[in-house]
Amino acid sequence: MNKLGDSWLLSLIGLTGLAVIVSLYLVFVYVPTELIMGIVQRIFYFHVPSAWVGFLAFLVAFVAGIAYLMRREPRWDMVEVSSIEIGVLFSTIALVTGSIWARPIWNTWWTWDPRLTTTLVMWLYYVASLMLRRVVDSEDRRARFGAILSIVGFVNVPVVFLAIRLWRTIHPVMFSSEGFEMAPGMLLTLGSSLVTFTLLYLCLLVIRVRIEYLSSELSRLRQLSIPARS
């Protein structure tokens, strides 16, 4: 990548940094403490954006997977694998923060609610798909399999959600996940957090794709230098 790409990335990182500071101010200083749930409700501003970025990342991987199978350009494969890795990271954060939030509010670490269960199943699947990539030797095959898995996985998400929702509605519903009205200040803070996390996702994606690009460049140069040395 060139100087221009660098300055573009630097300004993206700068913008993200600014957004992080603004959002932290909003979350910890500006927004009032929720009346019923108390201070723990502030985790909401990390939990929801993490879940959103997880979903967005898998969507991007799905699109990149289709693009790879159609165009066969390695950069789409790089985007696909980078996005899945980041998606797994943010889904993990969403699952953990959700669990921490659920403990005092729902009085349990975990419930088999459709959204939670779907996230967990999605998480398991994408972790498995990353594992599959590691054990495929041929580069071209790895990219193809990765693309197929990212497409199959994403198509499956709504199906899993539907199945789990129907499965659970037969049991009594113990908790509803959205129990409170949102004040304008909270909405603003949530919006700001969502923007910040999305920017953070973009930063990570660009950096991760660059790493992928540089390592493929490195192995290409190594290949070139072997005959020269001998």
């Binding site: 199943v121 398991l124 699947y125 498995a128 193809r144 497409i151 199959v152 199945a163």
Partner: protein, 223 residues
């Protein structure tokens, strides 16, 4: 027409090979039986009424034994270099997929037909019910549809058959849920109208999974 002739030829080949050795079917059957027995040990002392867990045990046994068969169907092809032979045959890739899928479904159904009577004895449940058979057939098709695609990928990795279960189970969650629930409702003797929603869903899952796998399979066998 040509498509289905190709499919029939592949199924006939798999069935003939299996009839000669009976390796896969016997392993699947014994494994499924073992799962049913182990669940009895694992649950019996804590569960008041074993009939309550019967549908779950049945489907776990079917799914686990199914994994064995799915893996085997592609490991065999790879061992003798037969997959290259298959790819050279003048049929579409989708016909290879269909042939493999039909073969896998057949083997799973045979295994299930042997397990079901034993299951009825151990759990004391009525199994002579066409609705139950329909659920089993639909559930098996859904499970094998996506399983055949993933098995074709898994055998092309360094670790071979290890990858299949961890990829397949998250994807098969909808099929497992729908099959287990409808089996439960049928075994409880609820009217068929209650199960109707789940049956329709199972059918929908089967169609979705078969279509995705059919499209994806073209890209799995490429080189």
């Amino acid at each position: 027409m040509r498509f289905w002739r190709g499919v029939a030829a592949i199924v006939a080949k798999d069935v003939a090979a299996e009839l000669r050795s009976k390796e896969t079917l016997s392993a699947m059957f014994i494994f499924a039986l073992m799962v049913v027995v182990i669940f009895n040990f694992a649950f019996e002392l804590r569960v008041e009424n074993v009939r309550q867990i019967a549908p779950g045990v049945l489907w776990v046994a079917f799914a686990f034994a199914g994994i064995l068969g799915l893996n085997r169907s592609f490991v065999l092809e790879r061992e003798g270099g037969c997959i290259e032979g298959l790819m050279l045959t003048p049929v579409d890739r989708s016909a290879i997929y269909m042939g493999k899928l039909v073969g896998n479904v057949l083997f799973m159904l045979v295994m299930e037909a042997f397990i079901l009577p034993i299951f009825a004895v151990l759990f004391d449940v009525p199994i002579l019910n066409p609705a139950l058979w329909l659920v089993i057939i639909l559930g098996t098709i859904g499970f094998a549809a996506v399983g055949t695609l993933l098995a074709a990928m898994a055998v092309n990795t360094r670790v071979r058959e290890i990858m299949l279960p961890i990829l397949l189970f998250p994807i098969a969650v909808p099929v497992i849920i729908a099959s287990t629930r409808s089996t439960g409702q049928i075994l409880d003797g609820l009217p068929l109208s209650e199960t109707y929603t789940w049956l329709r869903l199972l059918l929908a899952f089967d169609i979705i999974f078969t279509v995705i796998a059919l499209l994806g399979f073209e890209y799995v066998l490429e080189e």
